[in-house]
């Protein structure tokens, strides 16, 4: 299967610590890189990750709190200094447009590439990006300001040719694409070989959803049925349940409830409050509800 991975650049929350950077991650799908959120220091973390800056084709911003977007102008500016020429599209809540362009006007005057802004309606689920390999959908979240998650779903691939069977029936390579797409094969002496003999099933479709920041949304699970990997903010433990409620954040246990109810394969925890010196308590609370919960950490890479 082609790579579908998440590279964690930052999994802390609003207050910076020496353990965590603010929110930022790179979703890698079939060789393309998409940046999701861009807290201060993202460009430093990108450099540390050794991911190719030039391969980032789009940036998705969840909401306009500083820990999710203060690194954007610096990163765009650095791309310019590094001689980027490829267009870059920034997706985010419409309030971002004015801020972004006014900063660019001051700081990014001589760049050799264009930055397009594409406003995302954070209140509805919709496809905001699509190419040959994947779609990206907005997923409305419940936070103090307009905020949405992003669901990355790869497009179905074709079936795999069984080379041994194809060779046995002397199928020319020129016919492979038709067969991958579902065609049977008729041999020279008129025998029909059914497609199911000639192929192995396509890889299962994988999907990844980034949900940060959000109040616990019991209804979110129904939106995420069948998702492979869920990143769900888990700012607090149960000891700060009321604080989570007050600031429209979630506890690790609540993240796990969403994961369990959506039936995902794995849950990635992040957006940790600076008050947790050791996030193991968050992990334990999540695993009590959903065993396949994992702590994210800077520079960690997860297969979707």
């Amino acid at each position: 299967m082609e790579p579908f991975r998440v590279h964690i650049l930052g999994c802390g929350s609003a207050l910076p610590t020496l353990r965590h950077f603010p929110s930022s991650q790179v979703v890698e799908v079939r060789g393309k890189l998409f940046l999701v959120d861009c807290g201060e220091g993202t460009q430093i973390q990108l450099r540390r990750s050794r991911l190719r800056f030039t391969k980032i084709s789009a940036v998705f911003i969840s909401h306009l709190h500083g820990d999710h977007c203060f690194g954007l102008i610096g990163m765009l500016s650095t791309f310019g200094l590094l001689g980027r020429t490829a267009r870059l599209t920034v997706y985010g809540p419409r309030e971002l447009e004015t801020i972004l362009y006014s900063q660019m006007q001051q700081f990014c005057r001589d760049m050799d590439y264009e930055v397009d802004f594409c406003a995302v309606d954070t209140r509805q689920r919709a496809v905001v990006y699509e190419d040959r390999s994947l779609t990206v959908e907005s997923i409305p979240l419940d936070h103090r300001v307009n905020c949405c998650g992003y669901l990355f779903t790869e497009k179905p691939t074709l079936a795999h040719i069984r080379r041994d069977v194809a060779d046995f029936y002397e199928v020319p390579v020129s016919q492979y694409n038709l067969i991958k797409a579902g065609a049977d094969w008729v041999t020279a002496n008129g025998e029909t070989v059914p497609n199911s003999r000639l192929t192995l099933p396509a890889d299962p479709v994988r999907s990844y959803v980034y949900c940060s920041d959000t109040h616990y949304m019991p209804t979110l699970a129904s939106q995420l049925q069948g998702v492979t990997t869920l990143y769900h903010e888990s700012t607090y433990g149960e000891d700060n349940l009321q604080r989570a409620d007050k600031y429209y954040h979630s506890t690790a246990r609540q993240a796990a409830l969403v994961a369990r109810d959506a039936g995902v394969r794995q849950l990635l925890l992040g957006h940790y409050s600076s008050r947790y010196e050791d996030e193991q308590v968050l992990l334990r609370e999540a695993q009590e509800v959903f065993p396949n919960s994992l702590l994210t950490d800077e520079m960690a890479v997860f297969d979707v």
Copy 2:
């Protein structure tokens, strides 16, 4: 003598590297902290330095290139999250005002402290800040955009009482301040003890100037006569003299020429181009002209 120090938070230039952060430093004068420039990641470096965030009373921005100010909004926002209540003044070129306030309007709505902006005319030398302990003056520099350095000069202190002599003549402690300020002492039997017998000279006045970014300015030295410590950008070595000229930067040797001609005590080098993996070459070139040149580095602290 009371502390007068410079804490280096970042001494890299526009392109971030894993060795250096962009420009930022804290000038500590008699217990007060002043931030000079605020590149991306300054708040992380501040945390790392263990300097008290709350003690920063003013921020001085040299010019509006991203590597000197992209960390400002994040730092101000974090001060708010940490519950700061004390007013903070930001000094910088007037173009900063609109950018700063429009960002604050979006990102810093519920802060318990005020941020004042004070426009600095970068084209003239003038006192921009003054308190009981020091003055800060703008020093015009020659860069691609409006840019000035900042000269921190402590105010003269009083003379020191010679306790042994004062005790011998039975001078009451209540008279010490008068004597420190220059008064003689008349003993009970009418003998006049001259001030020079009772005191040791005040500490020499120290001063520190931050000059970054700038083209080499031979005239700068005359402005900086008697300065104790000079921080002068040294983006390039002599191998990139033409590049320095083109982009209005200086070489380490040019920084040393300014230091030598101004007769400063020590020269701090910084704002290194990312192309120098090892800045020793810059140090050597500076020391050939001005032996007491030093390389700065993140978390290094220099006594002025």
